[in-house]
């Protein structure tokens, strides 16, 4: 479980996040949605400790992130899987090497066990036969999928995905959505997903927070999003043709 209280973040004069309060539950796909530039990535980076908030607290279980020392943070991070917006694969490692990388550090598995686990993760994201290729030789969507495989390699308790399916074809996108949703429920992971993809919102949005201009304007789930009265959210949702039809019908 993750809790955020009164989080503020600015870069110089630019106030990006304002008084953010959030609760993320385990076993659910918690979605942060919002237009491009609304501060989703910045929020995510604050959550995982890559950026320091100006003020406000982030709680993991019962512990404040800001109270943790180096060792404790490092232990927590071993339980966190992150997919970055640009995948951020290590370009000195092959596809297989990327997925094995965290295992090298934090497990005592044999080489064979590591390769088996890595192949298993890669299979789940539908990447096979690319084991020995380097990230620069992959398409953007493939890099993303390898990034997910790497994020779930060590069975994380917390999974953060920054736009997991941007740049993927609709079929693969929904495959990835369902994969994330599946492992979230199966292993009771606290999953946080940044997205502006209406498809995934409607497919797996167990809990949705809509961010606009750096504040949370609306909270709900995939059912209530269609009946919202929040004007900004209606504009956001209504930009999608299918969703627009659904709204019209329900009215």
């Amino acid at each position: 479980m993750i809790k955020v209280e009164h989080l503020y973040k600015s870069f110089g004069d630019l106030q990006v996040l304002r008084d953010i309060n959030l609760d993320f539950e385990a076993g659910k796909c918690n979605m942060i949605i919002g237009a491009s530039g609304s501060g989703k990535t910045v929020l995510l980076k604050n959550l995982i400790g890559l950026l320091e908030p100006d003020s406000g607290e982030i709680w993991y279980g019962g512990k404040k992130l800001s109270d943790m020392g180096y060792e404790e943070k490092s232990r927590l991070r071993q339980k966190i899987g992150v997919l970055f917006q640009g995948a951020a694969l290590f370009d000195f490692e092959t596809v297989l090497g990327n997925v094995i990388f965290p295992m090298n550090f934090f497990t005592d598995w044999t080489e064979k066990e590591k390769v088996e686990r890595a192949r298993f993760c890669l299979d789940r994201v539908n990447v096979s036969g690319a084991d020995n290729r380097y990230p620069s030789e992959l398409s953007g969507g493939m890099q993303k999928r390898v990034g997910i495989a790497r994020a779930i390699a060590l069975n994380p308790d917390f999974l953060f995905c920054d736009e997991p399916n941007s740049g993927l074809d609709p079929y693969t996108a929904s495959l990835i959505d369902n994969l994330i949703h599946g492992i979230t429920e199966e292993f009771n992971i606290t999953t946080v997903i940044n997205t502006h993809d209406m498809n995934s919102i409607l497919e797996i949005g167990d809990s949705i927070e809509f961010i606009c201009n750096g504040t949370v304007l609306w909270k709900g789930d995939r059912h209530s999003i269609m009946h919202t009265s929040c004007r900004e959210l209606r504009t956001f949702v209504g930009a999608n043709v299918l969703a627009r039809h659904m709204i019209d019908e329900s009215e």
């Binding site: 890559l50 490092s74 966190i80 951020a88 290590f90 370009d91 990388f101 965290p102 550090f105 934090f106």
Partner: protein, 248 residues
Amino acid sequence: MIRRFLEAAGSWCLFLRMVFRRPEKWKIFWKQFVIETDKLILSSIIIVGVISVFIGGVLVIQTASNMSNPMLDRMLVGYMVRETLVLEFCSTVVALILAGKMGSNIASEIGSMRISGQIDAMDMMGVNSAGFLVLPKVMSATLLSPLLMLFSFALGIFGGWCVVEMTEIIPAAKYIAGLKYAYNGFYVFYSGFKMALFCFLISSISAYNGYYAEGGSLGVGASSTRSIVVTSILILLFDLIVTQLMLY
């Protein structure tokens, strides 16, 4: 200006503290150490060798033509060449060349990992990214660079000998005798020590600049330029300090 320098020096020290944290696994460290040795030390052998041979040869000609006085023993040419090589060329000048080669390699490699988010990704796994990426580079550069200095010394003398043989500017026997004349082993140690210190500065400062690069590919370029300028100046400064301390 002075404040900015002190601030940078301070954060460089903090960076080094991160780098010298105990590695998560020694096995991974040694594997990286071998890779970095290949990239930083072995790949420098050719350039260092070529330069040393040529400088050795030039030194012989220059020294010989400056000692035309018949009162001076021609043997002194060999002696002077040896001293120049070991005292200054093989450590300081070679280090200045390495500041360009090694420094830009380290800064741009780590810098582009920073801006593409790979360092963030490593940190998020709970891996000490500074330790994993930088420690093997610094250790390899510091511990093994004295070998480069010895190699450069040997090839410099060889270059001089080639010129002596080819031009007979002085008798070869005199050159060899000069090389052996008043040999002081401490100078070799002094030079090796300087080399290790310089390569420590090169690797750690370039890594520091790369690690904190920001602003896209332009930032990477700037960090690599800054590393070379800063390390070159520091090499000259420390050359002065170390020489004063060790030789005077």
